[in-house]
Every structure is written in structure tokens, then in C-alpha cells.
Symmetry: C2
Subunit: 304 residues, 2 copies
């Protein structure tokens, strides 16, 4: 299995257009210790020819251009793409806006829960995905589906929050329901090896720990290093808890919560522009590495 | 006045993700005669400090990263952007999707006709533009407004077509009304110099010729070189006429229709991936140059 990181950053990317913190300034100045990152998405393939995207980031056009694996084959027909399918984990802008790039009557399958499909249908702009070519497949929690031949995926609910633009301020939990945010369990049929993609998660509980134990690879929510870093930096008014994202550090953080879970390789992804792990020379980055975690980065391809 | 071309290509950009024609392949192979282009948009400034965008392309995040003029000032506050306003010419995906990048509670003004604002309001995903910070200003045809101090803009109807995803197959002209597609007349108050931005236009009539005569600069719809080039290439089933875009060549084309109109500099913009003018060594490019036209390209900044 090929896992290609198209983008490693959280919504807004790194640097973010209107963020002027020290690490965004270093990224803009081409500091080699602080490389820019596009918004989070990974592409999966078994044969290196047919690919499935997990989420479609607003940077998808740039990501396709930057990764030859996703170009039409030079000897292919006039209209061609190696992208066979897209699986969505929620309806966040940074996970769905890239669908608007997948126009021009190219056949592919779009997998998402009923909640996410309802949001897409309610937004007419997504009608640029020609229904004669793009099939919208509704996934059920805990029910396997196959976005590529030989690859099975199971979506499962994780603690999270409905997309910001869909929040209902009057409702408990802003109107969030279980299937608003899912993690993906991925299994290669031939080898049975498992990998998890969980770019948004508010809390790690025993059920989640038990599920991922023994996996080959985990990609996990790396939005914030500390729960209040956006407030502390003066750049925002929300904690990670409020945004539906567990922090890395602290007694309730993912470093502690996942320390004893046996996984061969653990990667943080969906990393906010305020998170100091984006600087390779930061203390936070060293702490994460010492704990056995890697930090995903644009263009990184790993094989299982 | 500064006019910065953020992107020169039509919807889908160049190369387009699933297009495998010879010129897209040359662009992917980094042929210096065929440079890639992002999707069409220009940024305007009088002082080089405050900028107004004409349309917000899906590539806007990359365009901001690529153009230091649009970065936060290194000595500015933690949240800052030189982008003060956005003016939309229609609701096409390649003109509005970039708004989804302008999140994070940054104040700016968004100018568009009532028809375009209605479409944005009907698509909840655009609620990521925080209403406490982003003011939506409704423009009237032929009524001046000021997206920057000292800069006046007048939107005027041009022959065109409603956005693809809003087409009503049962209605005459697919349900298009006058203000679905506008051109922009731009005037620097201090000098009185005029410039026109018309990225989509189905037909050049006497009224349009009379309006633009004597302008300093024209940016005009350069989608196709020949009306049927997408069919001829086997890449599409629509003519330019069907898509609401006049071709460059032919007796009804823009080269002929605008040949006698006195404009200091004429640029084609919004250029489709099939248009041979994207190749600097093509006959089409030479014909265009011989007729006194320039072809816009990413990063080009001109001053009036």
C-alpha cells in the first residue's frame, strides 16, 4: 500500500493567508527548518496506478500538480486521471472544497456519510461534479466499503464537532451528531494490514485505543500542541476543545493518551499554523519525536 | 495604479487536472515555452499597500503565497492582510471558490450583484466568511462603487451566461439574466485613467466597443482561440458560444471585433487549457501578437 501525504496542515494551510506569527513569517521567508505545508489530505494506492483521496483539500489543484503520481499518464487518453475515488471524513471546508477542482466530467466515486452528502447536496456549487460521471456513495458507520479494488475502508465515529459553517449555536454540542466526524480504518485485503486516518478527533477513549492497537500506521489529529495555543498567541478566541480537536500535549493530550498503544508508525497530520511542531528546531518537535511520533509533510510517501 | 495578474487561465487552470492534450503535457514537463497558469484573477492597488481582488479563484491560496504583495507585512499585527476587498464578475466556480480561503475573521468587503450574492447565500459553505468581519456589498449595474479609497468601479452587463452549476435546462438562455455576468470599468479618481476587466463575454457589440474606446488597459475573455476547439480536440462537447465565451479568431471573434478600438494595451485573460496561445511558440500566439494583443500570465504586474 502506498500512502502519499498531499498536505499536512490544518484548515488555512501553512502559512495561513492572514497569520503573521513568527513561524508563518519563517515559512514565508523560505526558512529550511520551517517548510510550508498545504491543507491535509492523503492519497492511497495499492498498485501506484489507481488512487483514492482521503478528503479533498482546497489546495488539491496544487497538490495534483506537485505530485506526478496523480497526473494523467503521458500515454493515456485525452481525458484521464489516476484518481478513482474520494472518501470524506467530514464536511469541513478544508476537507471538501477541493471537490470543486474535480470537475470536467471525469468519472470517480465520492464516499461520505449521509450527513456529509446532505450538506454537499444543499450547496449547489458542488453540482459542478457532473452526476453523469460522479457517483455519490453513502457510507454507513462500521460498514466496510471498497474505494479501490482490494482496499476496504470502514468509517467509524470519533468524538468531534460539526463543521464550523453548519454550527447551530442554540443546540447542544452545536448540533453535532455521531457521523459528522469519522475516522477511517483502512485494510489491504491481500495482507490484512491496517492503517488509520483520523485528522479530526476531540478525545481519545478506550474504544479508540482498542481499535487502533496493532495497526501498521496511524495518521492522527495534530491540530494544536497545547489546547489554548491560539488564545495564548493572541491569534484566536477558541481552544482546541471548542474546535473539536484534542491537543498533543498535556495530561489529556494525544501524546499521553496514545503512549501505550502499539502502532508501528504514528504520524501527526492536520497541523494548525500556530503549532510549533511545524518548526523542525522547536522544543515541541523534539518532544513529539522523543515520544515516537513523526510529523507528516507534503509529498511524503510511505509504503506498507 | 498597480494591476497584478494572480492567474491567467480559465476554469480548471493550466494544466487542467484530467486534461492530457499536448500543451498540458508540455506544461507538466516544465517546458519553458509553456508555463503553467493558475485560474484567472487580478489584484488592483493604488498605493501598493492596499489591494482589491477581481474574482477569487480556487487557486487563491497559492496565488497569495506566490505574490509577496499580498502577504501580511512582516512588521504588522498577528492577524493582517493587504486584501481590503473582492469584486466578483459572476458566480462561476473559478471566480468564487477562492472566497473559501479568506476565512479566519479578517475584515474585507465583498462586492457583487444581487444575483451573485443570492447564490453565495444559498450555499452555506460560504458562511465561513464571518459576517462580523466580512461585509457583503450589493452592486447595481452602471452605478459606481469604491472598493479602495480613490478607486471607482462600475459593473456593466456583458453578453454571457449564468454559471454552469446554476443552469436551468428548461429556460431560455439557461435562465441567464443581465447581471449574471458583468464587466468592470475601473477608474483612478486622481488621473481619470480607465481600465477594463472582462474575463467572460459572449459577444462584442457596438455598445461595448464604444465603452472601452480610449481606455489605458483592457483585460478580455481569452477562453478559446477557435469556437469549436474543445470539440475539435476531442476534449469537450461544447462550443465557446454554448459556454458564453467569444473566441479570439474568426469573423465573429474578438480579434476582429476589437481590432479598430483604440486601447493602449490589450491583454487576453481567462485562457482555457485547450487554447494554443498558452504555447509561446504557437501560430496562434504569433497571430495574437501581430494583432497587437498581449497574453496575461501569472505574476505579471503592470502600472498605469
Amino acid at each position: 500500500m502506498h500512502i502519499l501525504t498531499l498536505g499536512a496542515a490544518a484548515g488555512g494551510g501553512f502559512p495561513q493567508w492572514n497569520a503573521n506569527n513568527a513561524q508563518c513569517r519563517r515559512a514565508r521567508a523560505s526558512d529550511p527548518m520551517v517548510p510550508p505545508q498545504t491543507q491535509s489530505s492523503v492519497a492511497i494506492s495499492l498498485d501506484g496506478q489507481q488512487w483514492c483521496l482521503f478528503n479533498a483539500s482546497p489546495d488539491l489543484r496544487q497538490q495534483i500538480n506537485d505530485n506526478p503520481q496523480l497526473h494523467p499518464r503521458a500515454d493515456g487518453p485525452l481525458r484521464q486521471s489516476p484518481i478513482r475515488s474520494v472518501v470524506l471524513t467530514n464536511a469541513d471546508v478544508d476537507h471538501v472544497a477541493g471537490l470543486l477542482n474535480l470537475r470536467e466530467s471525469q468519472p470517480f466515486s465520492l464516499f461520505a456519510t449521509a450527513r456529509v452528502h446532505t450538506t454537499l447536496r444543499a450547496n449547489s456549487i458542488f453540482n459542478v461534479l457532473n452526476p453523469d460521471y460522479v457517483t455519490r456513495e453513502q457510507t454507513q458507520l462500521e460498514r466496510e466499503f471498497a474505494p479501490l479494488p482490494g482496499l476496504t475502508v470502514t468509517a467509524f465515529a470519533v468524538p468531534g464537532k460539526v463543521a464550523l459553517y453548519l454550527e447551530d449555536p442554540a443546540a447542544e454540542g452545536f448540533g453535532t451528531v455521531a457521523e459528522d466526524t469519522v475516522g477511517l480504518e483502512v485494510r489491504e485485503a491481500a495482507s490484512g494490514r491496517r492503517f488509520y486516518y483520523i485528522p479530526g478527533c476531540a478525545r481519545v477513549d478506550d474504544a479508540l485505543r482498542a481499535r487502533i492497537a496493532g495497526a501498521a500506521v496511524l495518521f492522527f489529529d495534530g491540530t494544536l500542541f497545547t489546547d489554548d495555543e491560539m488564545l495564548a498567541a493572541g491569534e484566536g478566541i477558541k481552544t482546541g476543545t471548542r474546535m473539536g480537536h484534542i491537543a498533543m500535549s498535556g495530561p489529556e493530550g494525544s501524546l499521553a493518551a496514545l503512549a501505550d498503544v502499539a502502532v508501528e508508525r504514528k504520524f501527526y497530520i492536520h497541523i494548525n499554523n500556530t503549532n510549533p511542531v511545524l518548526m523542525r528546531d522547536s522544543d515541541a518537535r523534539r518532544q513529539v519525536a522523543t515520544a515516537g511520533w513523526e510529523v507528516a509533510m507534503d509529498g511524503m510517501e510511505i509504503r506498507l
